[in-house]
Amino acid sequence: MTALRILFLFAFGIALFIAPMGQGNYIIYVLCSWLIFSISAMGLNLTLGYAGQISLAQAAFMGIGAYITALLTMAGVHWIFAVFCSISASFVIGLALGYPALRVQHHFLAFVTLAFNTLVFLVLRNEDWLTGGSLGLVGIPRPEFGPFNTMMQLPFYYFVVVCFLITAAAMAWMLHSPWGRAFKALRENPIRANSLGLNTTRMTLLAFAIGSAMGGLAGALQAPLVQFIEPGSFTLILSLKILLMVIVGGSGYFFGPILGAGLVVLLPEMLRFTDGYYLIIYALLVLVVMIFSPQGLIGLGQKLLASFKPQEERGDLKQGAQL
């Protein structure tokens, strides 16, 4: 880790801390939702950027997490216990869903998860007795930790920041552990990883399940933030948006999904002055980014940086050097 990187992390931490100060409730709400979607997108980045599998069900896992947390906390259970249930449920469902799909070929996880997302939406909408149907659940309480009450917007923001930092730290630790290296090996060359004795199916499945569990955590934070959830907020469109966050930011880069989530969450706010045209502009921007830099924004930044750096190349090793 270079000094520059440490400095950058430090500045990022400070920025997270002072960002909401003196802002209105709405801005703080947008910041919270940026952090929550960052967690979700980081989970998808593990599946997509590191293990190389396309999942289109991240919104469904957020939905599962959100509904479990909402139902439990509304029944009087503490948030800490509820979030534990949300994460475990998403993890187990991820395992159960990924196992059959990953036995067969690579694109099938995308297809299975696509179907799964719509199935989850249908269940959430149709099982009124549990989920409140299309009306959703209203009045989800925000967690209390002894004297620290997150009912107000600002304390809730700091609560989300803490959750975000813990998740990011866990993620960074995992990526540097043998697991994380195995995930990268899978993405770079699955056949070689397999021949080196990695159980590729098991590792991919694990990456997918952990990514799904992070979706569940994001959902468990989303429910108390909005205090109202409905099936319509967890459709395929949201999954595609989360996918967009990962790709536009830069999949396979640690900060890619965080940048991407910021863009996807904040851009509509910034383009609000264009009225109805913002989605059109937004779609055009995504197309342009994808055409000119398929590695996403971080990839684009690295390309730009590399073009400014002096090229340290030894002239005598060049092909056709006149010696």
Partner: protein, 292 residues
């Protein structure tokens, strides 16, 4: 019995239209490994070309349809390939998937903003009679849709199997490098595939819009169904997309009446998951073999 026959015919008629979209989907996949997430919007858009031609430029129906066909070939076929697929293909499938998602959003929102957010009635090409057939009432429109869609698919199959260009296209789909060595103009063949997809989307659009009204959000369900039909039938076969489309159409209609209207949309999805688990290459598909 009469009721079942009625459901079967309307299911087959809808299924044949789904098959058109699914066939295009399969063709693009074969020719360029493009998973087109905007396929639903491709079927939604041509109907609005027709409507715009009729209401804004005052064209008669046949001229509007002709213009829409040409526009579809140009925009959904040639421009899609030149501006989006071609520059992105060397970077793998994923950025392209995202780009087609964005393209779908762009088309949907543009129609909503620049034309209308309401469902538009669409002129029907066929008589609206209802025939009485052994007690079952069967609409002429359904039968005509079925015939047109089948005619399109059969002529496509004949073109691919019986003509020199068609076979060159098949060779390109199977192995572009070998095809190139054997003197096939691979780039042109891929372009033909995109043009055919544009044409199929336009036909599907003109057939389905009188039934469901032309609406900007039609693409969401249509794209999903085309996608499922292609996978259920077999991703690497045109026959497969046809069988998949018909199957989904019939199952959807039967499920709506006999099982549950609430979970109607779930049935094709469950079918998709079951097929992927039991027979991942699809009903008609052949296994693609290992990648090693």
């Amino acid at each position: 019995m009469a009721e079942l026959l009625q459901i079967l015919v309307s299911g087959l008629s809808a299924g044949a239209i789904y098959a058109l979209a699914a066939v295009g989907f399969t063709l693009l996949w074969q020719a360029s490994q493009t998973i087109n997430f905007a396929q639903g919007e491709f079927v939604m858009l041509p109907a609005f070309f027709v409507l715009a031609g009729m209401t804004i430029f005052g064209l008669p129906l046949w001229a509007a349809i002709l213009t829409a066909m040409v526009l579809s070939l140009l925009i959904l076929g040639a421009m899609f390939k030149k501006l989006i697929v071609e520059p992105m293909l060397p970077h793998g499938t994923l950025p392209l998937v995202i780009a087609t998602i964005a393209l779908g959003l762009l088309m949907k929102e543009s129609v909503k903003e620049f034309y209308s957010a309401q469902g538009q009635p669409f002129p029907t090409l066929f008589p609206q009679h209802v025939l009485d057939f052994f007690g079952a009432s069967i609409s002429v429109q359904d039968i005509c849709n079925l015939i047109v869609a089948f005619a399109a698919i059969i002529s496509l199959q004949l073109f691919l199997g019986r003509t020199r260009t068609g076979r060159a296209m098949q060779a390109t789909a199977q192995d572009p490098r070998v095809a190139e060595i054997l003197g096939v103009d691979v780039k042109r063949m891929v372009m033909y595939t995109f043009l055919i997809n544009g044409a199929l989307a336009a036909i599907a659009s003109i057939l389905i819009s009188p039934v469901y009204l032309a609406k900007f959000s039609n693409g969401e369900t249509l794209g999903m169904i085309a996608f499922i039909a292609a996978i259920v039938g077999g991703f690497n076969q045109i026959k497969g997309a046809l069988v998949g489309g018909l199957l989904i159409g019939v199952i959807d209609n039967v499920a709506a009446v006999y099982i549950s209207a609430e979970y109607r949309a779930a049935i094709p999805l469950i079918l998709l998951i079951v097929i992927i688990m039991v027979r991942p290459q699809g009903i008609m598909g052949t296994s693609e073999g290992r990648t090693v």
